[in-house]
Amino acid sequence: MTAGLNNVERARAASGPDPVEMRGIEKGFAGVPVLRGVDFTLGPSEVHALAGGNGAGKSTLMKILEGVYRPDAGAIRVGGREVTLSAPKDAEAAGIGMVFQEFSLVPTLTVARNIFLGREPRRFGLIDDRAMVRRAGEILGGMGVDLDPTAELQTLPTGYWQLTEIAKALALDVKILIMDEPTASLTKTESEALFALIKRLKEQGVSIVYISHRMEEIYRICDRITVLRDGGVVLNDDVADLTPEQIVAAIVGREMDALEWEERPAPRGTDVPMLEVRNVTAANGVTDMSFRLHAGEILGLAGLMGSGRTELARLLFGIDRPDTGEILLRGEPVEIANPRVAIAKGIALVPEDRRQQGLVLDHAVRDNLLLPLLDDLRRGGLVDDRRGDGLVARLIDRLQIKLSSPKRPVRLLSGGNQQKVVIGKWLGREPEVLILDEPTAGVDIGTKAEIIQQIRELADAGKAIIVISSELAELLAVSDRVLVLRRGTVTADLDRRDIADEESLQLAIQGV
């Protein structure tokens, strides 16, 4: 496709009706209004950011556009024509595609099979594998992605899953693409590839709704922004005309500088570090790693995916075992054979994937919060539920978890509140060493600020804390010291005061 054709297309598109126009959308669940008369317009070839806190109504609005929910009131026009979207296939027919935050992929199938899942090209009634692979290759090529369509998905890094998910949407020839937190699980490089792809899609006339909490991305790729709060639109403007403060203020409803670094007093305490890792090498990729962590200190781990961040956390929590080297707690060498040993020694992990590793999603919030505490709640062989309920109430209060009842499944909570439950699980045990792996992934900015504040309070209370994050702004906001990891080993040990800004840390991570 030549640039000239693109321009023609763009001109034609620009003169036509808006791809999506939603007017006066109202929707409630069980009598609780979630959307109160929302207007939302997506322009031609526009990347439109949709932002808002947990429960602001973003997901509900988009689920209406995907045909999952039907609005109680309001009208939807797609390409100028009024439509009724009563099922996802109606949205599909209207050219609306969705890239899910939780992947809707089958890991054991190939990339091509995932792209065409349920719509496989057929020949004489049988699936035409060759045509499928060829067309998948064309779609991926059109995205500028070098990915083998015959590769089995589970052998590929998460970044490629995201791309497969997008290719799956594009295979439908969509004109409107909804992306929900697409970079949440991507590394910096993978995100860059995604941004390039978004630009390319835009040039091809695709309009994109981009749900994100990340300010940097909104400025980078979005043309317009709509902010929802309490089910209504509180901001709708060109991104270029807004300051980040204005956007954040619209999201949270008040001014805040959560991601501002606060210098904390140097960790008090003794010369003996709370945790010391000495020349540890393990099969999972950690190579000759050494560092120390003191009580009351927040240590940030920076690095790309696979640099050894999560792998280190797995060693410290007893999920993987080191081959050589030593781990010392308060100066004593320890063998951490499994998570139970780690927990008994006062080490806790808030894992990377809260849904798979952190929570029993179908179980009540209270059952999730009490699971690590059952030992302490036993009285005469039985679990003392009354004491448990009191504990749960205090944890919910301390972490400001927003829920209707602790007896309802944790699955019904927003991402931010789910994450608070994972953190809350450990607070009752008062761990000495708390490791948080991507604690704010997929969490809105208001909750993010609350989580960062919790981390600081825990460090102030003398806990030794390790924070792993792909989001450098957050890492810089919370850390006292930052370890830069590359290929499984520590390449720099930086005092936070010596890091000028995100760029310099990014350069250190990339090893430039």
Binding site: V32, V360, D367, D376, V383, R394, S404, S405
Partner: protein, 330 residues
């Protein structure tokens, strides 16, 4: 270090902000089994009144006939709640019945019979549990194989012959006797259900079983020894199946390799009817009991209605499908 010390921050809050309306949606599906039980009971009471459905003898008969299934269903609730399955319970019951009968015949002592029966349960449970928990072999495969092994072994050691039990003490304790007007089997059932319900809902072990079944990785990451939990539920299931086998032996005053044949299907159906998810993570011992009673109720009603065995099987299958479909969560 491992105290339950939530810092004394604010005083415990009043009930957290509650969104109106949400708590009012009671999910009737959770109660489908109880509703179904009552509906079918009432229907039978009306239409089969002349056939003696409501007489005390008949109702006690239902309890007696379902007792052994109910007891195995209690243990199976734990297995399924932990996201495992045990297909070997029926044939373990059969093997236990012959082991008990042959030991009593050889020693003349009821105690040795009980020990032999329990030994069968322990041995099978340890094998099943080890293979599933520590070697990671799917429980479906392990227990499917064990179903055949236990059945074959029982048939082999008895040369297909019934093993009569002449020990009155054994027969009275295991299923044959009554305590006043109450059948001994009813007592066994009540004991099993009460212990099962308390352990599943009120103990650390029960909660850990549910967590393991709900999300094994998250449970492991939270300090639950998921391998031990898995091993233990498989062991419990086999030991309880062995006790069930002795109940068969006591009630029928003999050990036979056929005792318990096909029971695994009734037991699993009772547990699923009772609202325990086949995917693990939820479980209701009381529900399993009602599920088992419901199956017994249907069997009894259909017999009283004069249907023959083939018709009974068809109708029973249809009722189970309808009940499970109604109880299914959306």
């Amino acid at each position: 270090m491992s105290q339950t010390a939530v810092p004394p921050s604010a005083p415990p809050p009043a009930a957290p902000a509650r969104r109106p309306g949400l708590l009012q949606e009671v999910d009737w599906r959770n109660y489908a089994i109880y509703i179904g039980f009552v509906v079918i009971f009432v229907l039978f009471a009306i239409f089969l009144a002349d056939d003696g459905f409501l007489t005390g003898t008949n109702l006690l008969n239902i309890v007696r006939q379902t007792a052994i299934i109910s007891i195995m269903a209690v243990a199976m609730t734990f297995v399924i709640a932990a996201a495992q399955i045990d297909l070997s319970v029926g044939s373990v019951a059969g093997l236990s019945s012959v082991a008990a009968a042959m030991s009593i015949a050889a020693t003349g002592n009821a105690l040795f019979g009980v020990l032999a029966g329990l030994a069968v349960g322990l041995a099978v449970g340890i094998v099943n549990g080890s293979l599933v928990a520590f070697l990671g072999v799917p429980s479906f495969l392990v227990t499917l194989a064990m179903l055949g092994i236990a059945f074959g072994l029982a048939q082999y050691i008895t040369e297909s012959a019934p093993q009569p039990i002449l020990n009155d003490t054994f027969n009275a304790i295991f299923g044959g006797g009554n305590i006043g007007p109450i059948p001994g089997l009813l007592v066994w059932t009540i004991v099993a259900v009460v212990i099962g319900a308390v352990v599943l809902n009120k103990t650390r072990f029960g909660r850990q079983v549910l967590a393991t079944g709900g999300n094994r990785v998250a449970a492991e990451y939270t300090g639950v020894n998921t391998k031990r939990i898995t091993f233990t539920v498989m062991l419990i299931s086999s030991v309880v199946a062995a006790i069930a086998g002795m109940l068969y032996a006591g009630r029928l005053e003999s050990g036979r390799y056929q005792w318990g044949t096909g029971d695994e299907l009734s037991v699993i159906a009772a547990v699923i009817l009772g609202g325990t998810s086949l995917f693990g993570g939820t479980g209701s011992v009381i529900g399993s009991l009602v599920g088992s009673l419901l199956i017994g109720l249907i069997n009894n009603g259909l017999i009283l209605a004069g249907l023959d065995v083939s018709q009974q099987q068809i109708i029973r299958g249809l009722i189970i499908i309808v009940a499970v479909a109604l109880a299914r969560k959306k």
